[in-house]
């Protein structure tokens, strides 16, 4: 190796690169247990030295990615000393010598540099803030000793179908994978959770609503006869409930960054709730996930696209719109495309494609040019507001009928022009003052200049005044038909959609992501590290992109989605970093299970409900979440899943549970967002005072998913429980635990109203019933004693404030 020492010196490195190197240092450290020893396609090498084989994907790649790739990885611009360590060919080098000599650590400069005691020579350079542990150094040395074998990154190779391990007495495939791993560690799984805990858990997980006391009684009774049949039936009932679509719709809406306002500083309201309803409905219908994907990304491009398919394209209209004065609209249009590229990458591919916006990706093999080729797919649409008609409305037929009716009505009125005119002239001035303004306006218009609407107004008023007779109710019936047709066609709800342009917009690489600095023109295309784009239109469009994403050979999408579903059930995905399956991500704790689920998802025709059913019917899902002393040291963070996980409910469900417990819930599905009571003054923050006219009637008590959400001033009671703000895609919610949450549950007017309603239940049915409505279980004597010290209102408030009430156990 002829590389000179100075080439490795950090002073040679541009400051910006050093920054990125330090960037890798992370404040959140992720602990992962090594995966099981089952062959997973990752090479496991027989050791010729220490007796322990080193697996590249599991042990070596994370060390290299964390410590080396920022300067010796894929990004050419920031590469130092012309050295790449991300592929074997590059690392063993060519003419000028090699950093790694496979099998010969003593000859490998890579090894001597990581072991060096000279801080000028040591890698990674000390002032990057990175430091290898002694164990990591020895692992790397052993890897070189064993031949420095590289394996393809697990997430970029297609999932492997492995039969679930055979375990006596365990039939469910998920349990076979999970128990095999537990057996290896000599850990027994937890017992099944109590029936009340179980029905509450699965009801909240599948529908976001707690069970009623009656439902609990039925389940407990039926379980006595046949426990597994009772549970199966329960799951079937919950999956068939329309509330399933609301609960999992919210999961998807987080990813879609849905909200009801335009964002940025003005943040005016927008109407895009039809898209929200589309999501809820599609999930309730169990639309195949590939179709679900294609319609959202490119519904407008499908042949004879239906209205519903166009509504689905609202997915990518959930970007912000800047309404501020003096702005460059192109800048914000480009920003919205950046967001669409990043969101598409994160949601469907689990890749941080957005990182390649300004430079080649530091860690994953995605070039900046490839980024802008993805950009080009998403850069060719207009962004109109679309009228949404009632289902079964034949727009053409109605439009043609409207024309006919209008014509008839016009002729009808023309024939009676003289009568109308005569009546108009006869109206006295003081009588005129009492007429509706539309009629007055029509009267003030010269006879010859009166429009169709003017004449209609006048004729109707003249009939009302008894001055003209509407023979056979002819006018009335024509008018009614006319108004109905006009309403059906022109006074509809609207939503935001994508609409492909016929004339292509050119796309360029933008230097440093700056829209004022276009470089080479690019055509639409996908990253070369993934499966080929295949047969496409010319030039390729969004529909081709959507179809490429849903190809079965795509190694990422099915894994990413099942992982994100798993995360909802256990608080953490099988691969912990749910939005990055790239080289910086976390290797899965159970790689074989993740692959098996990913393939099962496709095999089950991309049915989300089947995946839900599969997971919730496993013993792994049904076991108790209670803390176990014996796991405290072996698996304190529950990676191995020897128990379930207690999880604080999502923001909307915190509200929903209180609504159900207090008997107030209005279970209506869908429709425009609603305005439940919020504390005074909340909406006056920020630049624009937003109107919030509190809804009346049932709309006060709708589920949290329907609360109107301004991005810049989100509803406080949802915001404090970590509901995402919709500025960018959210693939995992934070679960914070703060005093403001306590103030909300104790003092917020809405929660106080819930407590008052629950108080009535206590007064009528007793504290035991109220307790059960909140927690699904009866209170213990101790708990009753505590509650008995309070008056009924105090007890109701206490129940709504329990940690258990806002947690699924």
């Amino acid at each position: 190796m002829t590389r000179k020492k100075r080439q490795f010196k950090l002073v040679q490195i541009p400051v910006s690169v050093r920054f990125f190197a330090v960037c890798v240092w992370s404040a959140i450290s992720i602990t992962t247990l090594p995966a099981g020893d089952v062959e997973t396609g990752n090479r496991v090498v027989d050791d010729d030295e220490s007796g322990v084989a080193v697996a590249f994907n599991r042990e070596i790649r994370p060390i290299l990615a964390e410590n080396c790739y920022a300067c010796h990885g894929f990004d050419e611009a920031s590469r130092e000393a012309d050295l790449r360590l991300d592929t074997l060919d590059e690392a063993i080098g060519s003419d000028s010598g090699s950093a790694i000599v496979p099998g010969k650590p003593q000859e490998s400069e890579f090894v001597s540099r990581i072991l060096s005691e000279d801080s000028d020579l040591l890698m990674p350079p000390p002032d990057t803030g990175k430091q290898l542990t002694e164990q990591q150094k020895q692992t790397l040395r052993r890897w070189v000793q064993q031949g420095a074998h590289y394996d393809a990154h697990w997430a970029f190779t297609p999932p492997k179908l492995l039969a679930p391990p055979i375990i006596a007495g365990v039939s469910h495939p998920i349990d076979r994978f999970i128990h095999a791993r537990l057996n290896d560690e000599s850990i027994r799984p937890s017992a099944r959770a109590g029936l009340e805990t179980l029905i509450r858990r699965v009801s909240l997980d599948l529908t976001g609503l707690p069970p009623t006391p009656e439902q609990i009684d039925v389940f407990v009774r039926e379980s006595e006869t046949d426990a597994s049949a009772a549970y199966r039936e329960l799951v079937d009932r919950l999956l068939a409930s329309p509330h399933y679509g609301e609960r999992w719709g919210r999961w998807w809406l987080d990813q879609a960054r849905y909200a009801d306002s335009n964002g940025y500083s003005i943040d005016g309201p927008r109407s895009i709730w039809k898209y929200r309803d589309w999501v809820v409905d599609a999930l309730n219908q169990d639309m195949r996930f590939d179709t679900f994907t294609i319609e959202q990304l490119a519904g407008d491009l499908l042949p004879q696209a239906t209205q519903s398919q166009k509504v689905a394209t609202g997915f990518h209209r959930n970007t912000q719109i800047n309404q501020e004065g003096g702005i460059d609209t192109e800048q914000f249009r480009v920003d919205s495309i950046f967001d669409r590229v990043a969101t598409t990458g994160t949601v469907w591919l689990g890749l941080t494609i957005g990182c390649a916006q300004c430079h080649d990706h530091k860690f994953d093999p995605i070039t900046q040019v490839e980024y802008y080729r993805m950009f080009a797919f998403l850069n060719n649409q207009d962004e109109p507001t679309m009228k949404v008609y009632q289902p079964n409305v034949d727009v053409d037929a109605l439009a043609s009928e409207l024309k006919t009716v209008k014509q008839t009505l016009t002729e009808f009125l023309s024939a009676r022009n003289d009568q109308i005119d005569a009546w108009g002239k006869a109206v006295a001035d003081d009588a005129k003052k009492k007429l509706p303004s539309a009629v007055r306006k029509a009267l003030d218009t010269e006879d010859a200049k009166r429009s169709f609407d003017h004449k209609r107004e006048l004729f109707a008023e003249a009939v009302k005044a008894g001055a003209i007779e509407d023979e056979n109710g002819m006018f009335e019936s024509l008018t009614k038909r006319y108004t109905d047709l006009d309403d059906a066609l022109n006074k509809t709800d609207t939503t935001l959609v994508l609409s492909e342009r016929s004339e292509r917009r050119k796309s360029h690489v933008l230097i440093k992501g700056d829209f004022t600095r276009p470089a080479d023109e690019v055509s639409p295309g996908t990253p070369s590290i993934l499966h080929p784009l295949g047969e496409v239109s010319d030039p390729p469009n969004r529909l081709d992109l959507a179809r490429w994403i849903t190809r079965p050979e795509n190694p990422l999408t099915s894994r990413v989605i099942v992982n994100r579903i798993w995360q909802q059930y256990f608080g953490r995905g099988l691969s912990e970093i749910e939005n990055d399956f790239g080289l910086q991500g976390a290797p899965p704790s159970h790689p074989e299970l993740l692959d098996w689920l990913a393939l099962e998802f496709i095999r089950q025709d991309w049915s989300l409900k089947q995946i839900h059913r599969l997971i919730v019917t496993s013993q792994t899902y049904q076991q108790a979440s209670t803390f176990r002393k014996d796991l405290q040291d072996i698996d304190p963070d529950n990676y191995l899943l020897a128990r379930q996980q207690r999880l604080r409910l999502d923001a909307e469900i915190v509200r929903d549970v209180a609504l159900v417990a207090s008997g107030l819930l209005a279970p209506k599905l869908g429709g425009p967002p609603v305005f439940p009571p919020i504390p005074d003054g909340v909406m006056s923050q920020g630049q624009v005072r937003r109107s919030w006219e509190t809804s009346r009637g049932d709309d006060r008590y709708r589920r949290g998913i329907y609360t109107f959400k301004f991005r810049a001033t989100p509803p406080p009671s949802l915001n404090v429980f970590d509901a995402p703000d919709g500025f960018s895609t959210c693939t995992r919610r934070i679960r914070s635990n703060t005093p403001l949450q306590a103030l909300t549950l104790m003092n917020d007017p809405a929660y106080f109203e819930f407590a008052t309603a629950l108080q009535k239940i206590i007064q009528q049915d007793g504290i035991q019933v109220a307790f059960r409505r909140c927690t699904s279980r009866p209170p213990t004597d101790d708990e009753l004693a505590i509650l008995d010290r309070l008056d009924t209102l105090g007890a109701a408030r206490a129940l709504l404030n329990l940690d258990e009430t806002i947690t699924r156990e």
């Binding site: 240092w25 803030g129 940025y264 943040d267 702005i327 923050q685 005093p739 708990e783 509650l787 258990e804």
Partner: protein, 481 residues
């Protein structure tokens, strides 16, 4: 503080908060019986003080945010050449290739001289205009930086940039980063509080003090001028204080039982959160009650009616918050957007807003100093950008948004006192020496608080987010005393 000490402190903290109802020893033994480790980790109270990266110079920050972009040319930048060449077109070399807001509408490229009178003050003869007589009186306490520089020229993005280091919506704000990095020393109020004054809220709204990818524990909590000072702070009308205390006690006891039954430490965190919430119910009103302040103090700030919401009252509250150990306090005062429109011109409205903030800003520095709090507290004055040397003619005279050079001042907490840093050209258009980028300000601020801006990061979507972003940032050592 090493981790063992930290754990011990946390343990003490947890139990000291649980002295009502079930005894702490009883709890400990109950939990031990169940084999549950007593909750000692940071997780049971995420706001507990955390160790710094290196010894800090300052503990608290007060950021006086002048929303809208205050003009530097009528306040701190004395530019006789600009006045002399009033009305002449700005030389092409200054504006070539630059973009401005409102470029196509009202922007003009003729120079506009200031009509204010400037005088020299303090030990170094620092120029300050007649609009800020009180600030002029404290220049010996300040580091005035004339070469601040930002990247974005529209209000909301520029405010995000100043507050979060990014023009994007939804990134963690400075106050969130600081409380995330340091925790808070106040046990009965949130660690990051926001106070607002002026005719309307700042553009960008709550996102300016949001926590972005950090837990919401760290987001700024607005202290409101009307109604409850903190949202949902008041006990509902029909509930007595006794009933509220009973509620909190009962909820704690019931939660403790569940903690013992389930072993989930998250419940310990929730118990703590309820204790803090309950304390806030009395500590926040006590904070807002300024009746104990002397007439002399009120005069110092220029507060006429202590119950009336104003910038001056917010400055006084900021001092009271620092006294209580609150980590980060941000004041927003609108509106500094003097384009020359009917309600925003340089002749009438600028003097008015200067009068609104001048005395109280200076008083805050003086008051902190005489109470021995200035050494530990950084005070920052400035907006999201400055204003152009070129005039803008709408109904009246004004100036456009300007990002190449604008003025901010810093006091206390390790900042050098009595200096002017950075020099601009004859028109005050751009720096001729020592530019200070917004990211440099952030790096310097964190440095004085004992935090390394490289290391204060959090991973999200494959990127490591930091207040100072990806591009290089510099701790401006010359500003440190």
């Amino acid at each position: 503080m090493n981790s063992k000490n930290l754990r011990e402190t946390t343990r003490r903290h947890f139990f000291s908060n649980c002295t009502m109802g079930v005894g702490s020893m009883a709890l400990a033994s109950l939990m031990a019986q169940e084999g549950i480790s007593t909750p000692t980790s940071q997780s049971s109270n995420p706001l507990l003080p955390k160790p710094t990266h290196f010894p800090p110079r300052a503990k608290n920050v007060i950021f006086l945010f002048m929303a809208g972009g205050p003009t530097q040319l009528e306040t701190f930048e004395y530019k006789p050449e600009l006045t002399k060449r009033n009305g002449e077109p700005i030389p092409e070399s200054f504006i070539k290739g630059k973009r401005f807001a409102f470029m196509n509408s009202s922007h003009r490229s003729n120079l506009l001289g200031s009509t204010r009178t400037f005088q020299r003050y303090g030990n170094n003869g620092t120029w300050v205009s007649d609009l800020l007589p009180h600030t002029a009186g404290i220049v010996d306490e300040l580091s005035i930086v004339k070469t601040c520089k930002t990247d974005l020229f529209n209000h909301a993005p520029a405010k995000f940039f100043m507050n979060t280091g990014s023009g994007q919506f939804g990134r963690p704000s400075m106050g969130a980063w600081v409380t995330y990095g340091l925790g808070s020393e106040c046990e009965d109020l949130p660690g990051f509080l926001v106070l607002q004054s002026g005719p309307r809220g700042p553009r960008g709204g709550a996102v300016l003090w949001g926590s972005g990818v950090l837990p919401t524990t760290y987001q700024g909590v607005p202290l409101r001028n009307q109604g409850d000072p903190i949202l949902n702070l008041s006990t509902p009308d029909t509930v007595t204080p006794d009933q509220q205390r009973q509620l909190v006690d009962s909820v704690r006891e019931l939660n403790l039982k569940r903690l013992v039954a389930s072993g989930d430490e998250e419940i310990a965190t929730r118990i703590n959160a309820y204790e803090l919430a309950y304390k806030m119910q009395s500590s926040a009103p006590e904070l807002m009650d300024t009746s104990g302040e002397s007439a002399e103090t009120l005069d110092l700030y220029g507060i006429k009616d202590p119950n009336e919401s104003s910038y001056a009252r917010n400055c006084l509250l900021a001092r009271r918050l620092v006294e209580r150990g609150v980590r980060f306090i941000q004041l927003y005062h609108t509106n500094w957007d003097h384009h020359g429109g009917p309600t925003e011109n340089l002749q009438k409205h600028l003097p008015e807003i200067c009068k609104e903030i001048d005395q109280a800003s200076a008083a805050l520095v003086l008051d902190l100093k005489r109470r021995g709090l200035l050494d530990d507290t950084i005070v920052i004055w400035g907006g999201e950008f400055g204003r152009t040397p070129m005039g803008e003619v709408r109904e009246n005279t004004g100036r456009n948004h300007h990002i190449d050079a604008f003025t901010m001042w810093f006091a206390g907490g390790g900042f050098k006192s009595g200096q002017v840093y950075g020099e601009t050209d004859e028109f005050g258009f751009g720096p001729i020496e020592n530019p200070v980028h917004v990211h440099d300000i952030h790096a310097t601020l964190l440095h004085l608080l004992g935090l390394d801006h490289h290391r204060l990061s959090v991973k999200f979507q494959g990127l490591d987010f930091r207040l100072t972003g990806v591009d290089p940032a510099r701790v401006v050592k010359e500003l440190i005393g």
